[in-house]
Every structure is written in structure tokens, then in C-alpha cells.
């Protein structure tokens, strides 16, 4: 993954509602995200980072907890930049 270029935006385009996650036992985002951006915390919450996101949308599609993941496109020019795909 270190090979793929990312231009990191100052603002996160993924927002996770930690309170909503605490009630979640299935944690689909943790395994399905192809960039491994979601990390479960011992207190039941989710730690996430947005910097190396492929912008695929898998996380919000598989999330079973309504409103837990708010996902939009990063600001113009920021985010993943594919060169060889």
C-alpha cells in the first residue's frame, strides 16, 4: 500500500460516530475495508484514519449501524491518486 499515492486533505472525509459504534458487535468495517482504516478499540469504539482511503465506499455500504459512518468524497484534488491502475 506504501506504493499508492495519497494527497492528504486537511479535513477528514470519513466521520465515525463513536457512540453508535459502541453498540455494534459485528464491526463489518473493520475487516471489509480494503485499506484497513478501521481499528477496534478496547472500549468498544472504533479508531479510524482517512489518510490512506481508496474512496471505494465499502465502509458505509457494509455498516449495519445507521448513521455510524458518514462518508463523502474528499475535497477536490485530495485523496488517492492512481497512476498505474
Amino acid at each position: 500500500m506504501a506504493t499508492t499515492e495519497f494527497r492528504v486533505a486537511p479535513d477528514a472525509h470519513i466521520v465515525v460516530d463513536g457512540d453508535a459504534c459502541r453498540g455494534c458487535t459485528t464491526r463489518e468495517c473493520v475487516t471489509a475495508c480494503p485499506a484497513g482504516l478501521f481499528v477496534p478499540l478496547s472500549d468498544g469504539g472504533i479508531l479510524f484514519n482517512y489518510e490512506q482511503c481508496f474512496e471505494c465506499g465499502t465502509c458505509y455500504m457494509v455498516c449495519n449501524t445507521h448513521g455510524a459512518i458518514t462518508w463523502r468524497y474528499p475535497e477536490g484534488g485530495a485523496g488517492v491518486v492512481y497512476r498505474h491502475s
Binding site: A32, P34, G36, T58, M61, E75, V80, R83, H84, S85
Partner: protein, 435 residues
């Protein structure tokens, strides 16, 4: 500042660039928005393009388009953990005019197609994300809001080609909430190898390419795998059904790593350096997930409108995007000339054009294919069934005499847990689709 255009096209992928090109050629003022720093920089596919759809639109595409290799070898493989059965087809016909498929890299291909829209007169704005729709007093869509500081782009019509996640189709009310069962996740590695080494490993003549579509190899997760040869890289990846992936609790990159160690795959990818890894969603479910195609002041095309063919036998998307973009562009140009961009008019003329071409004909005919393809039988039992039969047929078990085929098939139907009724039903369903 409010920029004034006749039409704003959102997304400079194949659908958007083709729509913008058609609209600009009709003499309209067209703004083409792209959220990446260049057209194609957010896009990822397998992949192979079938560019003959461009014959009328860009007649010189064979000379101009940045293609990697003409596909002359197409194999369909069935993998189990320890076996592989291939239907391996080669033809010299695909290496000469009029050609068939070619491997391509989207950053290069999409940027080239966008340059054709710009040549036709469209204004391409890169690094600009459309964040919402503008509406006029009557509620009709009249442009988009962008994330540039002063960035409303007003227009008489919008063409939404904003990809598989299309937030514009949702905001316009054309698409409802997404159902994960309608999507697959594509993950892909680009691996570098010298051109001569690729040609040696895949048994190819210079400049020619291979396309391997694979059933099995996905660690029990519904989907498939692929392997394509580019000029100096190979594309290796998986397509995974979202519900099946989450149910398995496995990580996509872990399944891909395992796939690359399969005895039939490992020698092809050995020693190649990773150049890029990425992921993208695929609208898998065809017509059953298709949004409303138009509303007042807006039409939807490409992946945003689920115009992508995931049928197993045929896996196509870029040509569907190009054809739907051309139809969308022509319909909007016609509506603007008539001074009527109502949803009813746009929908009728867009749908008529899509029906005249291959987009809706193919998607309608193959509408049951994605469901059949992701069924447990096709995913797991049939690959095991055919591989076991072939293994036993070719295993010389002397001193025992050769088994009779009929009894062998009967036995393997039983051991694979298949039922004759299901075999007959799947055969009939496939024949009805393809026959």
C-alpha cells in the same frame, strides 16, 4: 462567482467525457467536472476495454488511445484449493483490424478520452468535487455546487456521471439508499515485470495480451478473480460480494495474498514487484439496481446508473459507460434544442437511445446472470464438480480399468452435494439467457 454553462457534466470518467464530447460537438457550452487532479486518477478497473464502441465517436481511436496490449488469449479458469481447469482460447483475429479487447490503465485511458471532450470544446475543471445540486424556482435541477470557494456552476442541465457511489443520483431522488448486496468490491495489485518476461510467462507474441477470468480462488467468498497483462505490468485482483465478504470476516488483501499463492497462479506472478494497490466498488446487479435514469434537468449515466455488465461470461463496463454517456449527451442536447428539459422528456429520449444500442438490450437479457453467478452452486460446487471429474478422467488408475463417464458423473454429483434438479434448473436458466 457563478459560472454559466448550458450543461455541467460531473465526473470525467468514460461516461462523463463521452457525454461532454457529444454536448460540445452539438455547439453547447459544457463544463466537465473532475474531483481528481486529473481525469482517471480516481478510477480503477480490471481491466480490459472494448473500444469499438468508439468507432463513430472517435474514429481514430486505434491510433490514438493509450492501450496496453491487444487481448489474443482469453482463459476462463475454475479453481479449487488444489486444482485448476482452464478453457483457454487464442485467436490471431483479435490481433488485427478491427481488433477486440485491449488491456488498459485507467489514468491514461480516461485522461485521453477527457482530452477528446476538451478538443471538442468542453471546459475541464479538475480537482473540483461536486458537493450538491442547484435547483431553480420550479425545483428543476439547474447546476451543481462545488467545493471551490466560489464554486456554483449553474447550467440548464446536469449529466451525473459521478460513479458507483453517485451522491448526485441520491440527492436528485433518482436512487434510493444503496443495498450492499448489489455491489462487489474489486481489489487489485499492479505488479511490474519486463515486457519480454510477461510474454514468456503467458506465451504471448510481442504486444499481445492475456485475459484470465477465474471462478474460485476467493477463499470461499462469493466473487471471482482476474489476471490481465499490461505492457510492463500485470493486474491481479479479486471481485468480492460485499455481504459474503463481511460474513466471512476475512480481509480482502489477505484473500488476494492467498490467491497469489495458488499453484496455478503463483508462477505467473512470482518475483514481480508491487507498483500500486487499490480498490473500487462495482455495481453488480444490473437492471435490478438501476436508478431512475432522469429527472427534471438531470440524467444519470455510467456506473452511477449501474450500467455495467457483470455476467460471468462477459465482464464489461467502460464500453457501457461510453455508450450511455453518448446517449445521455445526445438526449440532453436534443432536449435543450427543443427547450424542454423535463424529466419525462429526458427519460423517454435517453431510454430510447439506450434501447437502440446494446446497453439496455444486454443488461435486460442478462439480468439474472449476477444472481446465478453468485449462487453457492456456481461459486463452490460446480468448480469442485468439474475439477474432480476431469482429475479422475485423466488419472490412470491401473490395474483398475477406466471408469465409465456416466457412473463417474453420477458419483460426483452425489459427493459434491449437487442435485440433478438444480443442475437442470441452472442449465436451463443459462440457456435461456445465452441461447
Amino acid at each position: 462567482m457563478t459560472a454559466e454553462f448550458d450543461v455541467v457534466v460531473v465526473g470525467a470518467g468514460p461516461a462523463g467525457s463521452t457525454a461532454a464530447m457529444q454536448l460540445a460537438r452539438a455547439g453547447l457550452r459544457v463544463c466537465l467536472l473532475e474531483r481528481g487532479p486529473a481525469a482517471g486518477s480516481k478510477n480503477l478497473f480490471g481491466g480490459v476495454v472494448y473500444p469499438r464502441v468508439l468507432d463513430d465517436l472517435v474514429p481514430l481511436w486505434r491510433e490514438e488511445a493509450p492501450l496496453e496490449r491487444w487481448v489474443t488469449r482469453r482463459a476462463t479458469m475454475f479453481l479449487t484449493d488444489s486444482q485448476a481447469l482452464s478453457v483457454d482460447f487464442r485467436t490471431t483475429a483479435w490481433a488485427q483490424f478491427p481488433y477486440n479487447g485491449a488491456t488498459a490503465l485507467r489514468p491514461a485511458f480516461d485522461a485521453w478520452l477527457a482530452s477528446k471532450a476538451v478538443e471538442a470544446g468542453a471546459v475541464l475543471l479538475t480537482s473540483t468535487t461536486a458537493v450538491g445540486l442547484l435547483r431553480d424556482a420550479s425545483g428543476a435541477i439547474a447546476g451543481v455546487r462545488t467545493d471551490r470557494g466560489d464554486g456554483d456552476v449553474s447550467a440548464q442541465a446536469v449529466v451525473a456521471c459521478d460513479g458507483v457511489n453517485s451522491f448526485l443520483a441520491k440527492e436528485a431522488g433518482c436512487a434510493g439508499p444503496s443495498d450492499p448486496a448489489d455491489y462487489t468490491l474489486g481489489v487489485k495489485e499492479i505488479l511490474a515485470l519486463p515486457a519480454v518476461e510477461i510474454e514468456r510467462r503467458f506465451g504471448l507474441a510481442e504486444g499481445e495480451g492475456a485475459d484470465f477470468e477465474i471462478l474460485g480462488g476467493t477463499g470461499g467468498v462469493g466473487g471471482g478473480a482476474f489476471l490481465y497483462t499490461n505492457r510492463e505490468t500485470i493486474s491481479v485482483g479479486l471481485v468480492l460480494s460485499l455481504p459474503s465478504l463481511t460474513e466471512s470476516g476475512r480481509r480482502p488483501e489477505e484473500i488476494l495474498a492467498e490467491f497469489k499463492t495458488h499453484p496455478a497462479i503463483a508462477p505467473l506472478v512470482a518475483g514481480a514487484d508491487l507498483v500500486e494497490y487499490g480498490a473500487h466498488l462495482i455495481p453488480e446487479a444490473g437492471v435490478s439496481m438501476m436508478p431512475k435514469l432522469a429527472t427534471s434537468g438531470m440524467v444519470v449515466a455510467g456506473d452511477a446508473a449501474a450500467m455495467c455488465l457483470a455476467s460471468g461470461l462477459w465482464l464489461e463496463g467502460v464500453n457501457f459507460a461510453i455508450s450511455s454517456g453518448a446517449a445521455a449527451g445526445a438526449s440532453v442536447a436534443e432536449a435543450l434544442a427543443a427547450g424542454d428539459v423535463s424529466g419525462r422528456r429526458l427519460e423517454a429520449s435517453y431510454r430510447r437511445r439506450l434501447k437502440e444500442g446494446f446497453v439496455l438490450a444486454d443488461l435486460e437479457r442478462l439480468k439474472r446472470a449476477p444472481h446465478l453467478l453468485l449462487s453457492d452452486r456456481v461459486q463452490h460446487r460446480y468448480p469442485q464438480f468439474v475439477c474432480d471429474i476431469v482429475e479422475e478422467v485423466f488419472t490412470v488408475s491401473n490395474p483398475a480399468p477406466k471408469p465409465r463417464l456416466a457412473s463417474l458423473v453420477r458419483r460426483h454429483v452425489r459427493t459434491t452435494g449437487l442435485r440433478w434438479r438444480d443442475l437442470a434448473r441452472d442449465a436451463w436458466a443459462s440457456w435461456r439467457m445465452l441461447g
